[in-house]
């Protein structure tokens, strides 16, 4: 079994329901994310549109985080998920440095690394990941990539030529796919990014990711 994710970006409407569901299910602290919906504004007024891209751990077959972890806190489980043992993690942040997708963070409460586990605890109880359940348009498709009859396998078959992964040049072999994505959605360097949040002024930043 090889579990994987596919997001049909043509369906995603940016409701961020998946983001909230993930936060609630996994008690993800403020300022940290296991799943984040990135949005990018494209064009000039009035010809503008907003793209949405749910971003989470890619559960790579050749995961740099698993390789760099000195204590095997990040490890594969038999269904292909890259899981994390927070009791074993020493918080060296090597995985944060290694992940090309910025999917790993230091949990400010436990002071250990954390990331999306495809809701491994729910899967163990034969439930879908919380983000899949929360999605109102079924843009998140989850299943067994080794099973040709699974929804995700059929989706990949049906959309051949339009299925992408993030940063394929890194050789990580992600098990997370996107349909209908482009450079704007999948390349973090493709768009200008303003510093921080600019809805308010007089902003101060609190410490991120623990002590540092």
């Amino acid at each position: 079994m090889q579990l994987g994710f596919l997001v049909d970006l043509r369906l995603c409407m940016g409701c961020k329901g998946c983001e909230i569901a993930c936060k609630v299910e996994n008690e993800v602290p403020l300022s940290t994310w296991r799943l984040r919906v990135k949005y990018v504004d494209v064009g000039s007024f009035p010809e503008t549109r907003r793209t949405f891209t749910p971003l989470r751990c890619n559960h790579c077959a050749n995961a740099p985080c698993e390789r760099i972890c000195p204590v095997s806190a990040l490890h594969y489980i038999e269904n292909g998920i890259v899981n994390i043992d927070k009791e074993r993690c020493i918080g060296c942040a090597g995985c944060v440095m290694a992940c090309p997708y910025g999917a790993i963070y230091i949990d400010p409460q436990t002071q250990t690394a954390d990331k999306c586990t495809y809701c491994a605890h729910r899967i163990a109880s034969s439930m879908m990941p919380s983000c899949v359940v929360a999605c109102p348009v079924e843009a998140n498709i989850f299943g067994d990539l080794d099973d040709p009859l699974s929804n995700i396998s059929k989706y990949i078959q049906q959309h051949q030529g339009n299925v992408q992964v993030r940063k394929p040049e890194k050789g990580t072999d992600p098990h997370h796919f996107y349909v209908g994505g482009g450079n704007v959605q999948l390349n973090p360097l493709a768009s200008f990014r303003g510093e921080g949040h600019n809805l308010f002024n007089k902003l101060t930043h609190l410490p991120l990711g623990g002590h540092h």
Partner: protein, 301 residues
Amino acid sequence: MVHEAIAATNAIVVLDVPLPGIVWGWIITMNMWAKSIGTGIIFITFFLLKKYPEETGFIRFPAVVVSIVFIHLFLFFTVIDLHQMFRFWHIFFYPHMTSAITIGAWMATGFVGLLLAMAYFIYMHPRKDKEMYDKLLGYTVILAIPVTLYTAGLMAQSTARELWQMPTESAQMILAALLAGSATMILLGGNRFNNRIKKDLGLILGLSAFSAFILYMAEYIFGGMKAEEVIATLEFIKGGEYTIMFWIGQVMAFIIPMVLVCLSIKKESYYLLKIAAVSALVGLWVAKHVWLVIPQLLNMS
């Protein structure tokens, strides 16, 4: 995390937004800098004892003490950077051998053991056993190589950070060790070295600085031609917020030592060599810090 105090209510509004931050900061810079001195002094001690056994015998004890101090500084900063520092022992009881961190921890432990043994034989042993010291020094030098290089391996395993490329970083680590080792030895030896030894130390310092500077400049000029991540990263030192710090590091660590070494050889001035050594040690910290930090400023997602 971002917050703002609203004067009307004195409430704190917490905005749950992602902001990039530096995870490996000055503590890791201290780690690399102290390690460069700790292993570098061993390389230089080995060289001097082989080439000038009669004139440099007095450095056996101070050199091993300096190495022990700086390797423990390196270990101290390694441990305090861990978010769960009291789980450090997990590296030894749950080792994952594909990780450069694990390999480095094991190698550094062996290195420390050999250093302590060397210190014992040259200081506490009843016969002040120099032969045993020199024998152990051979093994210590061999182990100093992976201890120096493992950080380069760690940087290479950091797939997300394109700026840190393995062949370059391994060369930079060895050069940093030779630079720091020769600079420390120049300061350690005082005026007890003869002119030939001073000249040799100056040459090692100058050539290490020259080679490291060439590598930095090669990355600076050509690095961006292969990957867009590197272009974006180098923008932080090409007019970006780390430009001044980058050049302070380059000038102090490499350019000033190169110039002063040339002048000191020409004028046979040990005083200039000492200034070069201090400048190299300070500049090395700055240069390493900038190189460590800038890839972390890049957005990954």
